[in-house]
Symmetry: C2
Subunit: 188 residues, 2 copies
């Protein structure tokens, strides 16, 4: 079951087979039904997920009770409430599945143990942090500089599977627009 | 002139004196007048700054031409257009001084060279990435969950020097509120 995890690590890192074996032992394979909340806001995030099959998202609630989606991870993505996972302080975000999913999970403790044991893992972690920072920044940039219609078109061109796989509700939340706006934009 | 940089690194890291000497050689000392733009949006960010004296901020313009301030760094802070510095793609942000400043600057090339030469530097970099991600996330959380007045009060309690040192214009931009709102909140 861990073979797919090793495959992801093999194509994205320089970790050798012996170390992959060691890493694999720290991960647990887990099947989760759709619409399952893996972490509630206010809890401390103690797990990180690699999506094998399905889709996991992180989101938070505004004061008005609207869901805002920070990140949606499909197959091969790493998902967690990053700030809480790093700081071990209560999470501001929820983490939950949007589809029936199969996940590889690793605990906070084992994750940082690997950073000490395997230097290349530390390097992976740095790359991950760079990537999430850039991703977050690009999202802010997109929200600030593009209209709702332009944001939809950009996603349609660059990552059409988001539009195929997500409900209008979640897609609208991810693109930071109302569902009615999304329907109007889609129909054009 | 590099003594203060070494001091910051000495109190925040485990880097030894020999390595500090090596790191110091890669940094340049630079005096910059207030209101100087160090990086324009659209340029690739090739430098990172450690603030010795003064104040440097990163900000971007909305479609309506409003300035939004992402980060303000006072003495001891690290400031750069992080996404652009990492990806070496054009920056979405401006970087500029708000006060007459003295900076330690390091080039992108030398920064990553240090990561290869000095393992502890790589560790510093990872800690820096963790910190900026958490900082960015807390800022989003604050914007979403607190009213303008609550945001001002939080800053007044936790980091009063922001309020003492920044003009109303920059403070309002940092707290993501109109200047008129800030004046109203301050007067109460």
């Amino acid at each position: 079951m861990i073979d797919k995890l090793k495959y992801y690590l093999r194509i994205n890192t320089d970790i050798d087979e012996l170390q992959l074996e060691r890493i694999g032992r720290y991960f647990q394979y887990r099947k989760v039904k759709r619409d399952t909340i893996l972490l509630f806001a206010g809890e401390v995030c103690k797990e990180l997920y690699v999506v094998s099959i399905g889709c996991v998202r992180t989101y938070y609630l505004t004061q008005q009770g609207h869901e805002k989606t920070r990140h949606i991870g499909f197959e091969g993505s790493v998902v967690t409430s990053i700030s809480s996972f790093i700081s071990q302080q209560p999470s501001f975000e929820f983490v939950g599945t949007l589809e029936d999913s199969e996940l590889y999970t690793i605990s906070h403790k084992h994750f940082y143990q690997l950073s000490i044991e395997i230097p290349e893992w530390e390097k992976c972690y740095t790359n991950f942090l760079e990537m999430v920072y850039i991703h977050q920044n690009r999202k802010i940039e997109m929200l600030v500089t593009l209209s709702a219609r332009q944001r939809y078109e950009k996603l349609l061109n660059e990552q059409p599977f988001y539009i195929q796989r997500l409900s209008n509700k979640h897609l609208a939340s991810y693109l930071d627009m109302r569902e009615e706006t999304l329907s109007r934009v889609k129909s054009k």
